[in-house]
Amino acid sequence: MMKIYIIWLRQIKRYFRSKSRLIGSIAQPLLFLLALGFGFGPIFQKAGGGNYIQFLAPGIIGMAILTTSLFSGVEIIWDRQFGFLREILVAPVSRLEIMIGRTLGGATVAVLQGIIIFLISFLVGFRPKVTFWPLSFIFMFLIAILFCALGTTIASLLTDIQGFQLIMNFLVMPLFFLSGALFPLQGLPQIFIKIASIDPLSYGVDGLRASLINGAHFGILTDLGILGAVAILFLVLGSYFFSKMEI
């Protein structure tokens, strides 16, 4: 446990020492929240969907967590380039412990950013409707774990930062747009719903919505189950690739 803790602690320290990352990763979701929230708000209302900010905020929280989590994998590549990865890889620590420590570290940071977006959306009019809304923190955490593990897994296979960023940009947008973060899945063409249902973020956004404003598409238990299972899958996959890693 101490080993996982120290790996976690290292990432938290690094994060808080880098102010630019703190601010930089909030800017994009904030832009989406404000531009789309106010831009599409009136149309959404007219179409009978109700208050769009109410609907959008959980999706944007999910997006903020998705982006930060996936990109947290880049630290593996930094560590490789600065040599610190060797220090970790020769240590008598199981690869699963490394994976869990890193994922928890990245996830903590991502959840913090999710909470910041949550607070900001509160300022622009978002109000949780559900009495058990703190449940949303569990969903934030699950989304973060899942995508941190995925980001770290991908990063463990790569050696250059540019390549990683390309792949991540290629992943983030489809994952985000197909997740139903921006629009309700109800009433969409069947094919679209099929695609959305293989996007893990759909279940995250759905879970957030269920625990914040009600109106789940898949159902809260399905959301929990699928997020948990996929997160474990990526953790195991990541630690497998870690065990194959060479320096």
Binding site: M2, K3, Y5, I6, R10, K13, R14, R17, S18, Q81, F82, G83, F84, L85, R86, E87, I88, L89, V90, A91, P92, V93, S94, T159, S243, E246, I247
Partner: protein, 266 residues
């Protein structure tokens, strides 16, 4: 006779068509100080990497402390410590935090860890700077911190890849006397590579010279001088490996490139 703590048989590493290490075999006894010498690019670092589980051998077998390095990497890792040739510190952490991180990963109990960190940081004269971020350190300071970190957990086998490269003679002496002491008091086996021949002659119980991926001779420093009929180890070394200058060791980026080429060829 003492037991072997390192046993290497027919160890080979190829990067694509390039054979970096070519069927080498050697043993190191428990409690021994063993040096691996060789010109730049001879295969020293590649060998150490395979011994320390971060590079998978193409062929051959390595046993460390009784464990097969490929089959039981975690148990192997519990048996050794390593000081790398180039930096492996976290720049964004302080000197103390780097030490603490290492100590926790290697499960050194707090009561031992904290006094030992203090002792080692004082030994390498970084105690005053313990709360500074490593990114503000000079090259020599980083090197000293790195060495101190490698000594923190008193492993059964200590690997040192050019441990004193770029250190001034004072620090080099201090570090070596600490290592000698560890070797004697805790029976820690030391395996090191170096460019300094007088260092190898003075410190090593036995040594091997590697060139073009092959071990060309091994034995005690006295035996080597006798076999080559030379006065000093330096003369023996030059006699065996020739006067020609060598390519520098492949940088990490070169190695990545090599690996990528090897990967795409598959």
């Amino acid at each position: 006779m003492r037991d072997n703590i390192i046993e290497v048989k027919n160890l080979t590493k190829k990067f694509g068509d390039f054979v970096a290490v070519d069927r080498i075999s050697f043993d190191v006894k428990k409690g021994e100080i063993f040096a691996l010498l060789g010109p730049n690019g001879a295969g020293k670092t590649t060998t150490i990497k395979m011994l320390t589980t971060v590079l998978h051998p193409t062929e051959g077998q390595i046993k460390l402390n009784g464990f097969d390095v490929v089959e039981e990497p975690t148990k192997t890792r519990q048996s050794f410590g390593i000081v790398f040739q180039d930096y492996s510190l976290d720049d964004e952490l302080t000197a103390w935090e780097n030490m603490e991180f290492h100590g926790v990963l290697y499960q050194v109990p707090k009561e031992v860890r904290h006094p030992r960190i203090e002792y080692l940081l004082k030994l390498v004269e970084l105690w005053q700077r313990r709360n500074d971020l490593v990114k503000n350190f000079s090259g020599g300071m980083k090197r000293r911190l790195e060495t101190a970190r490698g000594l923190l957990h008193h492993p059964k086998i200590l690997f040192l890849d050019e441990p004193t490269l770029g250190l001034d003679p004072q620090t080099r002496n201090l570090i070596w006397s600490y290592i000698k002491n560890l070797n004697k008091e805790e029976e820690i086996t030391v395996f090191f590579t170096t460019h300094y021949m007088e260092e190898a002659e003075k410190m090593a119980d036995r040594l091997a010279i590697i060139d073009h991926g092959k071990i060309i001779i091994q034995g005690t420093p006295a035996e080597l001088k006798e076999k080559t009929k030379t006065q000093s180890l330096e003369d023996a070394f030059i006699k065996l490996t020739g006067r020609q200058m060598r390519e520098e060791d492949a940088s990490p980026i070169d190695r990545m490139r090599m690996r990528r080429q090897a990967h795409f060829r598959r």
